[in-house]
């Protein structure tokens, strides 16, 4: 039974081996053929293969190429011996229950070989002297006899030596890369294999191109016919671009003027001085980038050296210069001037200097004209008061004082012939002798000689005759600050004094008939510059540095505060109607307030080049004036209408120049209109007074 089996086994073995043999023969034949053919030429094989191509009708009804099967040409002979188990390195006990032990390369089962039992094995071992050389191959389940070389390997491993007897562990190292860094590093590595095999990716790319050519995407040998470079870009029905504010076309180049001519008129040629100036200037500052030149004939004209630069600058301008739309005012400058009535139609007003009153030796700070308009009283820094006859310029009388005269003021009451003078902290009431008739003189004396009280703030003193000619009363203030201003109430009984530095005693109102003094304000806000009585109503105007406050003296309350908007008020005057006031300021401004309109200026004018010293209204005519440190007096026509709807009309009518000299930056210090005539009198730092008619 065993034998039989064995036979069977061997026979089957034979059969298999036969088969294999046949295979190998076939292959070798092919191989030989292949090598020969490849040696002959590649084309032939291709042709042969072409020839072997068969056609058959495909599914779509068209013939379909059927290429011959490719024969892989295996050159190794190891594979030819027996079917190789392809199961790989797996535990073979998985196949214990199956009749096969794995699969060959074609996927066919490899049947388990017949195995011998233990007795057979033993007998075998006994019989066969080489049985100890056998090892069981797990994959094929057969005993394999180890060869001499394999035995040698095993032996060497057992010895702990290298399996390969030829291996030299101590052979000299080959330096593929030099250990020393070199400038041009050399590399001795053997060329890698990929250098010798055709590139897969290249093949892919080529196939891509081949496919594109087959499909007609790439046409070889085709020359592109050039399109016409220019064609009709514009037609007749092009729509123009809509105007847009941000679309700013570049300005065109300025066209040349006469002076750019090669042969300009002689007057356009620059003089040597102009040439020099031009050359000195920075090229960017030059108005024109060329100098006019004259050539006798066209032949003599040279090339212009900066042509390319000019063009380049233009290019830069075109793409680099920021553009903006600038509205050019194309108006006649004269049209900006306001249309004013002709001053000739607004006469009378003072136009020219007629008289000069020169006797003072110091600057004339203030003067006053008597209500009848005959006498002029001036107080000066030379500590004198002089009385002049206005029309003749004759100095009628002089009073010598001990201090600088800061203010003089005639009493507006025509029945009383007296004036007040402010000297340091005193106010002196003087009745000029030999000016008024006896009757008025007596009346004045009676009017004044009532009390001589001593009060908290003020002492009313009766002067002795030695103190001065015509002195009636001396009002000695308790404070010892300088009184800067005296202003009379229209009736001539009250007068107010201003001493800006005297704190709450700065403003005092005195009553001449009773010799009484009131202190209207317990406290003053800011430094008081000027005060004034309203010509009609019981109102009192107080000008501090920036505000004008109006108080009602009867109700004892603040009526209004005018915001002037100037920095430092210097002067103040009230229109005879009482509804309009003007103020002058040290910051050159003149403000007109209409009390009916607002507490802000109706008109603020700035025309003097230096500080305004004084402003004045004419008592009867629609005139007002301002005088300034720049030595000029400005006359305005200031018409105030009774109609409430009509705003006042202000027209400048005359600038009176060249009267007063400017001394130490002081020009005209005071100006005042004549009470009846259209005349103005001014006093200046040049020690004189002038009459303008």
């Amino acid at each position: 039974m065993k034998r039989q089996r064995d036979k069977e086994e061997t026979s089957s073995d034979e059969i298999i081996s036969d088969n294999i043999d046949v295979d190998t023969e076939d292959i070798s034949d092919e191989d030989i053929e292949g090598t020969i053919s490849s040696a002959m030429s590649d084309c032939e094989t291709f042709d042969q293969k072409e020839a072997q191509v068969q056609y058959e009708i495909g599914a779509n009804g068209y013939p379909r190429q059927i290429w011959p099967e490719i024969d892989p040409i295996y050159e190794s002979d190891t594979s030819t011996e027996e079917p190789v188990n392809t199961v790989g390195n797996i535990p073979m006990e998985w196949y214990d229950d199956y009749p096969h032990i794995g699969y060959d390369i074609n996927g066919k089962k490899i049947m388990k070989p017949a195995t011998s039992d233990e007795l057979d094995k033993f007998l075998n071992n006994m019989e066969d002297p080489d049985s100890w050389l056998c090892v069981k191959d797990v994959l094929s389940q057969q005993n394999v006899k180890l060869s001499e070389e394999e035995l040698e390997i095993i032996r060497r491993i057992q010895m702990g030596a290298f399996p390969d007897p030829n291996y030299d562990p101590y052979e000299p190292t080959i330096e593929w890369f030099t250990s020393k860094p070199e400038v041009m590093p050399l590399n001795a590595t053997p060329e890698p294999k990929r250098r010798f095999v055709p590139s897969k990716w290249e093949a892919k790319r080529i196939m891509k191109i081949v496919r594109a050519i087959r499909q007609g995407r790439i046409v070889l040998g085709k020359t592109q016919t050039p399109k016409p470079r220019y064609y009709s870009l514009w037609t007749d029905n092009d729509k123009p671009r809509e105007e847009h504010i941000m679309q700013i076309p570049a300005p065109k180049i300025k066209l040349p003027e006469h002076d750019e001519s090669y042969n300009p008129p002689a007057e356009y040629l620059p003089t040597d001085k102009e040439k020099e100036e031009w050359e000195k200037m920075d090229p960017e500052d030059r108005e024109k980038n060329y100098l006019p030149q004259k050539y006798p004939c066209l032949r003599a004209v040279p090339a212009y050296g900066r042509f390319i630069q000019d063009r380049f600058n233009r290019c830069l301008d075109l793409y680099l210069a920021p553009r903006m739309r600038r509205n050019k005012l194309n108006i006649d400058p004269e049209s900006l001037l306001p249309k004013l009535p002709n001053p000739k139609d607004l006469q009378p007003f003072p136009t020219s200097i007629t008289l000069s009153y020169d006797a003072h030796k110091g600057r004339v700070r203030e003067f006053s004209i008597d209500p009848s308009g005959i006498w002029l009283l001036s107080g000066s820094d030379d500590k004198t008061i002089r009385m002049w006859e206005i029309t003749t310029g004759r100095c009628v009388k002089t009073w010598d004082m001990d201090e600088i005269v800061h203010s003089v003021a005639w009493c507006p009451n025509k029945d009383i012939c007296a004036f007040a003078v402010a000297i340091s902290n005193k106010v002196i009431i003087i009745s000029p002798p030999a000016v008024c008739d006896d009757e008025t003189t007596n009346l004045t004396a009676q009017y004044v000689a009532s009390g001589f009280n001593t009060e908290k703030n003020v002492e009313w003193i009766k002067p002795s005759t030695e103190q001065g000619d015509g002195f009636l009363v001396i009002v000695q203030h308790a404070h010892n600050k300088v009184i800067k201003q005296i202003t009379w109430h229209r009736k001539g009984d009250y007068f107010a004094t201003v001493a800006p530095d005297a704190g709450n005693q700065g403003i005092l109102i005195h009553q001449l008939s009773r010799h009484q003094t009131q202190q209207p304000f317990r406290r003053t806000k800011g430094m008081v510059q000027r005060v004034m009585f309203h010509p009609i109503k019981p109102l009192f105007f107080v000008a501090t540095q920036t505000f004008v406050r109006i108080y009602n003296l009867v109700k004892q309350e603040l009526v209004k505060t005018l915001q002037s908007g100037v920095k430092w008020i210097s002067s103040l005057d009230i229109h005879s109607m009482g509804d309009n006031i003007i103020i002058g300021s040290y910051d050159k401004r003149l403000c007109w307030f209409d009390l009916d309109l607002s507490s802000r200026p109706y008109k603020a004018l700035r025309f003097h080049s230096k500080a305004i010293r004084s402003v004045a209204f004419h008592k009867r005519l629609p005139l007002f004036a301002s005088c300034s440190d720049d030595g000029t007096i400005q006359i305005f026509h200031g018409m105030v209408y009774n109609d409430l709807l009509q705003n006042p009309l202000i027209v400048p009518v005359k600038i009176l120049k060249a009267g007063h000299e400017v001394v130490n930056n002081l020009g005209v210090l005071h100006c005042e209109f004549h009470p009846t005539q259209p005349w103005i009198i001014s006093s200046g730092a040049d020690h004189s007074l002038k009459l303008w008619t």
Binding site: Y230, H258, Y262, Y268
Partner: protein
């Protein structure tokens, strides 16, 4: 409550974008940004309020309009720029690896961009394009004269030359040249196409010094755009005139520096083409290089009858008010004829002057006379045949003469293609720029080149007397200056020329007929009075003298002779006047007195007129003072803003006045010098006698 508005989220803050922001947004290098800005015509803006646009800072920054930048982002040319960048990288890599075939194929498939769409975008209508042509032409004409360097390719220069020549040909054919000006920088030309005036500057033909301080990348980017631009404009202009574009280039002529003649203009229309062939055949003997279309022939025919008609028109205009014309029937007929004529006329783009006329109420006759005047002006030189001596600038003179219908020939050294030689008998004007002339031809007038330019600017043929070779030329004025009130106006000394001496043998007959009319007209037109007439007579006699008395072709070798000739002119004049005085029977002393007076009156008219003004400037009248005062008073009532504006204006005005005053002063000085010099020369003349 509305939405809270955040600062910097609307208005000027978002309307403007800084350059660096723009670069970042577009992901461009500065150089590419510059190029795209130039090509697309995008420019920085100056915002009304810099603080608002620049986050409260007033530091100098370049701000662009945000929408401009947004609009740039979609520009196809930008894509090409990027492609080009990668192409350059690839090419460099291929070249570095010595893969020449790859480099070659890369080069073959190089990304190219066209600017056609940008041109259409920037100039939606043709008028827009014409409006912006100035800079383009300036640039092209400059680069046409530049030498090719490493930066400037020779092809670019050749293309510029070609485009500029094509454009000049159009100007010649369309007769659209209006003004020319010889400046120290170059020659300005002003043309008028479709109501748009285009001015450009051409440098004198010298080899240009290429400066170092100029960034040619910028210039070349501009040039790139302008080349395409002018190409399209040329195409449109040519096709509008039924001409073939691009015209062919005669290479043999081009090599011989033929300039304008190297380009062969062809007419597209078949019928026109045949007529042109005929015309060419006719002109072969006449050697007219300019091919005449039927249009020009028509206009010439019209021109032949022009002087007569003009005279009629003038007469009518003058006498219409006062007289009733006796032959009203005739008049009506002529008017009809005129009407027909006018209808025939090709529509002419209105000039600026004409537009002014159109603004007012105008009559049919106004239009007609204006259009006649224009067509006459366009054919100013149609009866003249010029010959250019070798030292004159042919490139300019040939162009302007042909643009005004003249014929021109030149010396062989100036280039090939001259239609006739110097000895041609038909030549009426010989343009020469030398003081000495050997072998003068008597049948022609010798003039300096400035005469041609001055004639064009004066819109009429001027007297050639002042322009004779060797003479001191009258000043060449800029035709572009428009005199406003208060500007300085230099004196003009030119007069209208009756074209009497210039008649060529060909047109003598016709001219004689016209002469009488002309004379009449002269008397009417020139209101200077007797002086002028005398002058005319003098001139006639003078020229007669020169024809009769002088030996023909006298070789003048002496340099001084030029001076002598000058003197003889003067002498002749003096002699003539003396003769007249003798005939009138005035004693010599009196004659002398008169003459001195005449000189002072006539020649120094200007000085005398300006003198009283100067005097008056010194002594102001009381009225003036008063006015001044009133002004000063009015100034008081102005607001601060107005005052400032007023003072600014006054400043500008004062500056202008100073300039004018300076010029006047100089003129007076010069006149004074002349006055001092004149008596001496007169004395000299006497001595010679």
């Amino acid at each position: 409550m509305g939405k809270i508005k955040l600062k910097g989220k609307a208005g000027a803050a978002t309307n403007y974008i800084k350059r660096n922001q723009a670069l970042k947004k577009l992901q461009l290098s500065l150089a590419d940004f510059r190029r795209i800005c130039i090509l697309k015509g995008i420019y920085p803006r100056e915002p009304k309020n810099k603080k608002k646009a620049n986050k409260g800072s007033t530091a100098p920054t370049t701000l662009y309009y945000t929408k401009d930048i947004q609009y740039l982002a979609h520009e196809p040319v930008l894509k090409k720029f990027r492609e080009h960048k990668s192409f350059v990288k690839k090419l460099n890599r291929a070249l570095g690896k010595q893969q020449l075939s790859i480099a070659k194929s890369l080069e073959k498939n190089k990304p190219v961009y066209t600017l056609d769409h940008i041109i259409k975008e920037r100039y939606p209508t043709f008028t827009d394009a014409l409006r912006d042509l100035d800079d383009a032409l300036c640039m092209l004409f400059l680069f046409a004269t530049l030498p090719s360097t490493d930066k400037i390719k020779s092809e670019t220069v050749a293309n510029c030359q070609r485009l500029s020549l094509e454009f000049l040909h159009y100007v010649i054919r369309s007769h659209s040249l209006r003004k020319v000006f010889l400046s120290i920088k170059g020659i300005y030309y002003q043309i008028e196409i479709k109501g748009q005036t285009i001015t450009w500057l051409v440098p004198y033909q010298f080899s240009q010094q290429v400066p170092d301080d100029v960034d040619f990348r910028v210039m070349l980017t501009f040039l790139e755009f302008y080349q395409t631009f002018v190409g399209f404009v040329n195409f449109k202009l040519y096709t509008d005139m039924n001409l073939v574009y691009p015209p062919k280039l005669d290479i043999s002529k081009d090599d011989g520096a033929a300039g304008l003649n190297a380009i062969i203009i062809e007419v597209t229309n078949f019928s026109l083409a045949t007529s042109q062939v005929n015309a060419d055949k006719q002109l072969e003997g006449g050697a007219l290089s300019l091919e005449k279309s039927s249009q020009t022939i028509n206009s010439e025919e019209r021109l032949k009858t022009l002087p007569k008609k003009l005279a009629e028109i003038k007469n009518k205009d003058e006498h219409a008010a006062s007289e009733i014309t006796p032959d009203s029937v005739d008049n009506a007929e002529t008017e009809e004829a005129l009407m027909d004529d006018f209808m025939d006329q090709t529509p002419v783009p209105p000039t600026s002057q004409e537009q002014d006329v159109l603004m007012q109420t105008f009559t049919y006759r106004d239009i007609h006379s204006a259009s006649v005047a224009l067509s006459e002006f366009e054919n100013l030189f149609s009866k003249c045949i010029f010959y250019l001596s070798r030292e004159v600038p042919r490139y300019s003179l040939e162009f302007i003469i042909r643009a005004f219908g003249g014929q021109v020939g030149w010396d062989a050294t100036l280039g090939v293609g001259s239609p006739f030689t110097e000895s041609d008998e038909r030549i009426t004007h010989h343009i020469i720029d030398r003081p000495i002339i050997k072998n003068q031809f008597l049948a022609r007038v010798y003039v300096q080149p400035q005469w041609v330019y001055d004639c064009i600017n004066a819109r009429k043929l001027l007297k050639t007397k002042q322009y004779r070779p060797g003479h001191e030329l009258p000043p060449h004025m800029s035709p572009f200056v428009e005199h406003k009130e208060g500007d300085y106006e230099p004196e003009m000394e030119n007069d209208f020329e009756g074209m009497v001496e210039e008649t060529s043998a060909r047109s003598k007959e016709q001219h004689n007929q016209a002469e009488n009319d002309d004379k009449d007209n002269d008397a009417d037109v020139n209101e200077d009075g007797s002086d002028d007439d005398e002058d005319d007579d003098d001139d006639d006699i003078d020229s007669d003298d020169s024809v009769n008395e002088e030996e023909p072709a006298v070789p003048v070798l002496d340099h001084d002779s030029d001076y002598v000739e000058n003197e003889t002119d003067n002498e002749d004049m003096v002699y003539q006047m003396e003769l007249e005085a003798e005939a009138a029977g005035t004693p010599f002393a009196k004659y002398k007195e008169n003459k001195a007076k005449q000189i002072s009156d006539g020649k120094f008219n200007n000085s005398s007129s300006s003198k009283p003004r100067a005097e008056s400037g010194k002594k102001r009248t009381s009225k003036e003072i008063e006015e001044q005062e009133i002004k000063e008073l009015a100034k008081i009532m102005m607001t601060k803003k107005q005052k400032r504006l007023y003072s600014k204006m006054q400043y500008g005005k004062k500056k202008q006045e100073e300039k004018v005053l300076n010029l006047k002063r100089k003129r007076e000085e010069i006149n004074q010098q002349k006055k001092n010099a004149v008596p001496i020369s007169v004395k000299d003349g006497k001595k010679r006698k």
